[in-house]
């Protein structure tokens, strides 16, 4: 049972079918003028339309990249380098993905000043903190749409409005939200938006950056002229085609999937909290992605929980530092006020459109048993 869809998701069979010809006979380089190349070029153009359509953008505003990390890097460094004569201050949040945080840290070492806005205990950014952080030298605000760990959805529309009123560019990392909830670049007031294909049942290694028309940013990768000089390199045609199809399906099924995943998520949350004492939901109870349930369990450690569930054939993720290469507790969980001991006992279950009620009911039963077993041998229970 796969409940780690926020990490990556299974490629859709419709997506794979769409990609296959471009992995086999239609292998032409889309920059070449002969027929085989033109077939690839046409496929890339069609995919661009599908990607743009999912977020209410113009196809010309879509730049294909290798994924969310690259999109974040191009957006943030691109604006920073482009506007460095205007100012050197960037506002971000403390709970961003490492692709944003590490990029900001890099810029910090290179003469830029970064304000890391805190979040409240429910994981939501306090808008007044963003307002307060703005200075005359602020050139960019970059705040994620939905958090990758606790699934909390940020008030992007309002933050975007503030940015617009102050003449500041606004970027959002929407890797976790695109395809799961409605995302419209105009309604959200964003100038730049990062997306990733493999979070929405598309292939890995492909993503896109939306850049609002008229906004000029400096390229950070140099080479050929592909992707309007912003992201040169031979196009990953099969990946782009797959991403386009994944976006088309996500748009087609958005409403249905949202309703279904929200129902299953709520069943899961209710089942866990009712059946396991001293279990808690992390993040905002309602302003969260339809597919994200993030818990903490007193007295047990997350990696043990993950391993026990894995032995039962269930794949999940944990906020436990012990399960990652770093031993530091999750910055996100710390920022919402959790003590280290509680952060270590956290677990993320992320559903997909393929998750069933039967699976949800089974994982609740398995969790009850596993938590009890671990608490029986815990020095803290």
């Amino acid at each position: 049972m796969y409940l780690d869809n926020s990490a990556t998701s299974k490629i859709d069979s419709e997506v794979l079918n769409e990609m296959m010809p471009y992995l086999t006979e239609n292998f032409g380089n889309s920059s070449t003028p002969y027929s085989l190349g033109k077939i690839s070029k046409k496929a890339v153009d069609e995919a661009r339309i599908k990607v743009a359509s999912l977020i209410g953008a113009n196809p010309k505003e879509i730049y294909f990249t290798s994924g969310g990390t690259e999109s974040d890097n191009i957006a943030i460094k691109g604006v920073a380098y482009s506007l460095k004569n205007k100012g050197n201050h960037i506002i971000t949040s403390i709970i961003e993905h490492p692709a944003v945080l590490e990029t900001c840290k890099y810029l910090e070492k290179n003469g830029f000043s970064i304000t890391y806005v805190p979040v409240q205990n429910d994981g939501i950014i306090n808008i007044s903190e963003v307002k307060r952080a703005i200075t005359p030298s602020t050139i960019l605000i970059t705040i994620m749409h939905a958090n990758s760990e606790i699934g909390t959805i940020q008030p992007i529309e309002e933050i975007g409005k503030i940015a617009k009123e102050n003449g500041i560019y606004f970027h959002t990392d929407a890797v976790q939200s695109v395809g799961k909830i409605p995302v419209d670049v105009d309604s959200l007031n964003v100038d730049l938006l990062s997306m990733s294909s493999h979070k929405i049942h598309g292939p890995k290694g492909i993503g896109a950056l939306y850049i609002r028309k008229g906004l000029k940013i400096s390229p950070i990768i140099h080479g050929g002229g592909q992707e309007q000089n912003i992201r040169p390199g031979t196009e990953n045609v099969p990946g782009i085609v797959g991403f386009g199809k994944a976006c088309e399906i996500a748009k087609r099924d958005l409403e249905k999937n949202m309703v279904q995943m929200t129902f299953l998520r709520d069943e899961l949350i209710k089942g866990v909290l009712q059946n396991i004492k001293e279990s808690y939901l992390n993040g905002h109870p309602e302003k969260r992605l339809p597919n994200n349930a993030h818990f903490r369990f007193t007295g047990i450690e997350g990696e043990s929980l993950l391993l026990r569930l894995n032995l039962k054939g269930i794949a999940v993720s944990t906020g436990s530092a012990c399960s990652s290469k770093s031993l530091e507790p999750s910055k996100v969980l710390k920022s919402i006020g959790l003590e280290n001991v509680d952060s270590h006992g956290s677990l993320r279950l992320s559903l997909s459109k393929d998750t069933t009620l039967k699976e949800v009911q089974q994982v609740i039963l398995e969790l009850v048993e596993v938590v009890e077993k671990l608490r029986n041998i815990s020095a803290l229970w």
Binding site: S304, R308, L311, A379
Partner: protein, 125 residues
């Protein structure tokens, strides 16, 4: 990431639980770092006749707790005191380097339990 031995001891830990009237108890670790171990020993004629553990921690922490109980049960306390972290890791066919210090606290917990026993002996010889 973990050896089969680690997973075996994690999945079916040996000697988990408490001893009601232990001869010594040792607790090491810090839950804020992610691991906390308590070892209980029952000593008769200077031999560890029974040993149990309770651990809050990751897979390596539980496996090392289980392994230390296996390595020390039935051993004279002076021999048990010679068991090192490396002995525990070796008996588990190795641990990932990052886990050696944070999760392999088992030998320290055992030594703390023995120290507690020896202390109590001084008070009540």
């Amino acid at each position: 990431m973990y050896s089969e031995k680690v997973m075996e001891h994690f999945s079916n830990p040996k000697n988990a639980g408490e001893i009601k009237n232990p001869s010594g108890v040792g607790t090491v670790g810090n839950p804020s770092c992610g691991d906390l171990m308590t070892i209980y020993i029952y000593v008769e004629d200077e031999i560890i006749k029974d040993i149990k553990f309770k651990t809050f921690g990751c897979g390596a922490a539980i496996a090392t707790s289980s392994m230390i109980t296996e390595l020390s049960k039935g051993k004279p306390i002076n021999e048990a005191l010679k068991i090192t972290k490396s002995d525990v890791a070796d008996a588990l066919d190795g641990l990932p380097p990052v886990k050696m210090h944070c999760s392999n606290l088992a030998a320290d917990a055992l030594h703390a339990a023995i120290a507690d026993y020896l202390e109590k002996q001084k008070i009540n010889p």
